[in-house]
């Protein structure tokens, strides 16, 4: 019995893979609101990736036709298939996200996240503003550079996580021109070079936690400690994990917040005291491995100190400064007060005020006003509107 030649099999695979890629163009909406949105989000980038994939397949087909099947070519084929899977998966997620946004299935969460990220980007470089689509968890996909917001999430209380995702944009995109040497450097890279292999991924995540705290103040650690992290998880994550251990992440955020008020007493002391106490209480029944031990603490302090220098030197413009407006905003969110006409506040101020009120209500066992979240959203909208009109001027 004659079996098919390896070259025939491989060329057949290449052909099917090419057809698969072609189908993407037909399947994905190109018209209507979703099409326009998709195009706006990452159309060019995805098209470029698809074209690249097609060209790679074409080149492989040419090589197989000319010189037959070799072991490296089989490996190339396998890699290309995996790559196509990744691109298609990203494309599909993007398309679904765009359709969900177009149908308002995210209830405006992504629109809110877009504006939030735009505001943060405005403090560094407007070009860093990346769009968001709904996803099953928050992340930044490197293929399309599009941020996913988990939908549905905990609404306003989870918005600070977007600052962490924006941190990924900064890590990969921030460049600084060195006029003395006429060179471009990537300011975060020297810090990341301390880490190799899988540690580098965890270090990037740690940087994004520190960055989000640095850019927002207490609201990010509040979300992480009180909503997200697992107090029973191992403090030091295995190398196969993408993120550092949860207790290490808590340590990093609180360390940063303390550093932001120079280790002195200040407006963050209240948050620090409550978050530390809450985390400690949550860890009461946890195993020893869930706690940051002395050795891990020493390593963390060394990494965080270097990270802090990188932030201060290169990203000082994004550093959150506690504002007297927070007090007025707390008054509004607790009810009974209106924002003074001269009120000048950022979305970070609103998030910090909202968490201030929430922590207070939790601590005193009182009830958070039903309207609190809605009022905070209105304040956020007002902050962005004012910012937009300021930009227009």
């Amino acid at each position: 019995m004659r079996s098919p030649q390896p070259a025939t099999v491989l060329l057949g695979r290449i052909q099917l893979e090419q057809q698969r890629l072609n189908k993407v163009h037909e399947a994905v909406p190109s018209e209507g609101l979703a099409g326009a949105l998709l195009d706006q989000l990452a159309g060019d980038r995805i098209r470029a990736l698809l074209t690249d994939a097609q060209q790679e397949l074409k080149k492989l087909a040419r090589d197989v036709t000319r010189s037959g099947v070799t072991s490296p070519r089989l490996t190339t084929m396998a890699n290309l298939q995996t790559a196509t899977d990744r691109v298609l998966s990203e494309y599909l997620a993007l398309a679904l996200g765009a359709m969900a946004r177009a149908a308002n299935a995210d209830l405006g969460a992504c629109d809110e996240a877009d504006r939030f990220i735009q505001e943060l980007a405005g403090r560094i470089d407007r070009r860093f503003a990346r769009p968001t689509v709904p996803g099953d968890h928050e992340h930044l996909h490197r293929a399309a550079d599009v941020v996913r917001r988990r939908v549905p999430d905990h609404g306003l209380w989870d918005l600070p996580v977007m600052a962490h995702e924006f941190g990924h944009v900064v890590v990969s995109g921030l460049q600084a021109y060195d006029a003395v040497h006429d060179t471009i450097r990537r300011p975060v890279e020297p810090w990341l070079q301390r880490f190799t292999g899988p540690q580098r991924q965890q270090a990037t995540e740690l940087f994004c936690d520190v960055f989000a705290t640095y850019a927002l103040g207490p609201s990010y650690p509040c979300t992480l400690v009180l909503h997200r992290l697992d107090p029973t998880a191992s403090a030091v994550a295995e190398q196969t994990r993408t993120h550092p251990g949860d207790a290490s992440r808590v340590y990093a955020c609180l360390w940063t917040l303390r550093k932001m008020q120079d280790g002195q007493k200040g407006p963050y002391s209240r948050f620090l005291g409550r978050l530390s106490a809450a985390w400690q209480a949550l860890q009461d029944g946890a195993e020893q491995r869930a706690r940051v031990d002395k050795q891990a603490e020493r390593a963390l302090i060394s990494d965080l100190s270097a990270c802090w220098v990188t932030l201060e030197k290169n990203l000082g413009s994004v550093r959150y400064e506690w504002s007297a407006s927070v007090r007025d905003l707390v008054g509004v969110l607790e009810g009974g007060k209106t924002v003074p006409d001269s009120g000048d506040y950022s979305s970070a101020d609103v998030l910090n005020a909202a968490w201030f009120v929430r922590l207070d209500a939790w601590s005193s066992g009182s009830h958070l006003r039903d309207e609190c979240e809605q009022d905070a959203r209105s304040l956020l909208q007002a902050a962005w509107e004012r910012q937009r009109s300021g930009d227009a001027r």
């Binding site: 021109y177 030197k313 007090r327 006409d341 201030f356």
Partner: protein, 458 residues
């Protein structure tokens, strides 16, 4: 035996610092007085009988008299024959010169009257005082403060010298000058505004009718203490929270509380009320500036119903109880107050005192009633950390451009917390706090200041 450790306790140190700060203001007045005196001398040299105006007046009168004589000779007709028109013109000129002569006489009369009136102004002006003697007196006062600082028994020396009659007279004199300094350098307006803002808050339970009430503070009204009735001290930011007690007494007089409060306990309750509304700043101002660690004022005036030591003890006990959610922080603050207070009392050889349980119960009940009825005026301890940070900024040297204006209650809290934290930076703190106090709440910092920092390096 009293503890006479060489180290000055914080209470005496702050009181001496404040007197020295007042002396600085007095020296400003002395310089201003010298300047005024020079101006008065200039006016005297102008208006006086041997002054510039008299000399000019004489010269002009001589010249006009000469011109009149010459014209009269010409018009006499013996020497020259004149045409009718020329004679008329000369006659006209003669009449005008005569009018000028009369006007000069009138001006001379007016000058004499003005000079006489100026004599009164000069006589009653403080600028007429001998500034040399004043400067020497201020210098001596400063030396005395230094001596008290170096004395092995500083409290005893302070008690003896500053409460002695001679010093008291001098102190009153300085008070007048300190008051002038405060007026002359524009502090008064700001302080009045701040005191009124605090008063409005303190009198809120009395309703709108009380809002127009003026603080019972005057440049010339002595403080309750008999120690240091120096006007300037009244008007420094440090003493601002002391309006709380008089406001508290006023509220107690005008409001109806269910808690039965007799006259003796009224002062306890007034202190507690001030503490409730103004927070830690009131306890700081009362202990550091007003209350006598040795109850000497009570001994001098037995009609005073409560010794200061009991008032201080009550304040120290009530402070941590202001808010159970901030008990740790408030206990720490109370501890920092209790330490120098105890040190001062030990230095004066007096022991601990205990607030009577019955008194404590009345005050607690009164405070519960105030809490229930007027929660909106309570000092909000949630912003204590913010006040601490503001205090650190004031103690630092970074520009205050980006710092927003604060309510006087928060500002005095910040300066007092910072003062205890950084005792050596008291003057610096006061200057910067005054700068901030001149800003009105709601006024935004300059555009772009502070909210985001400039990107460095990239």
């Amino acid at each position: 035996m009293p503890d006479n450790g060489a180290r000055l306790d914080l209470i005496l140190s702050i009181r001496l610092d404040l007197l020295e700060q007042a002396l600085d203001e007095v020296e400003k007045v002395i310089v201003a007085m010298g300047d005024q005196r020079q101006r008065l001398d200039d006016v005297e040299q102008c208006l006086g009988p041997k002054g510039h105006i008299v000399n000019r007046e004489k010269a002009v009168k001589t010249a006009v008299g000469d011109a009149i004589n010459r014209l009269e000779i010409v018009l006499d007709g013996d020497s020259l024959e004149l045409e009718s028109d020329d004679a008329n013109r000369l006659q006209d000129a003669l009449e005008r010169l005569s009018a000028v002569k009369d006007a000069i006489d009138l001006l001379a009369t007016d000058r004499v009257a003005a000079h006489k009136s100026f004599q009164d102004v000069s006589r009653w002006s403080v600028a007429g005082l001998a500034d040399m003697e004043l400067a020497e007196a201020a210098d001596e006062y400063r030396k005395l403060l230094d001596e008290i600082r170096d004395d092995p028994q500083p409290w005893q020396r302070y008690e003896t010298e500053l409460r002695g009659r001679g010093q008291k007279l001098f102190t009153r004199y300085l008070e007048l000058l300190g008051g002038m300094a405060v007026r002359g350098f524009g502090i008064e307006g700001d302080m009045v505004g701040d005191a009124q803002a605090l008063y409005r808050l303190l009198l809120q339970p009395l309703g709108r009718a009380a809002q127009g009430a003026r603080p019972q503070r005057s440049l010339y009204l002595p403080m309750r203490t008999r120690h240091i009735p120096l006007g300037y001290l009244h008007w420094s930011l440090w003493a601002l929270p002391l309006v709380g007690r008089s406001a508290g007494e006023h509220v107690l007089d005008k409001s109806t509380f269910h808690t039965p409060i007799d006259d003796r306990r009224k002062l306890f309750c007034a202190d507690a009320y001030a503490l409730y509304v103004l927070g830690p700043s009131y306890a700081h101002a009362a202990l550091f500036l007003e209350l006598d660690p040795d109850d000497a004022s009570h001994d001098d005036a037995p009609d005073q119903l409560l010794p200061d030591s009991l008032r201080a003890q009550a304040l120290l006990e009530q402070l941590p109880k202001l808010d159970e959610n901030a008990e740790d922080e408030l206990t720490e603050i109370a501890g920092r107050l209790a330490e120098p207070w105890g040190q001062a009392r030990r230095a004066l050889g007096v022991g601990d005192v205990t607030v009577d349980e019955a008194d404590r119960k009345v005050v607690d009940r009164f405070l519960d009633e105030v809490r229930q009825s007027y929660p909106e005026i309570a000092y909000d301890t949630r912003w204590l950390n913010e006040a601490q940070q503001l205090g650190a900024k004031l103690a630092g040297s970074e520009s205050l451009d980006a710092v927003a204006a604060n309510h006087p209650r928060d500002l005095v809290t910040a300066v007092w917390l910072a003062r205890v934290e950084h005792p050596a930076r008291a003057r610096h703190l006061h200057e910067r706090a005054e700068e901030l106090a001149r800003r009105k709440p709601g006024v935004k910092p300059p555009e772009g200041a502070g909210r985001t920092r400039l990107r460095k390096g990239a």
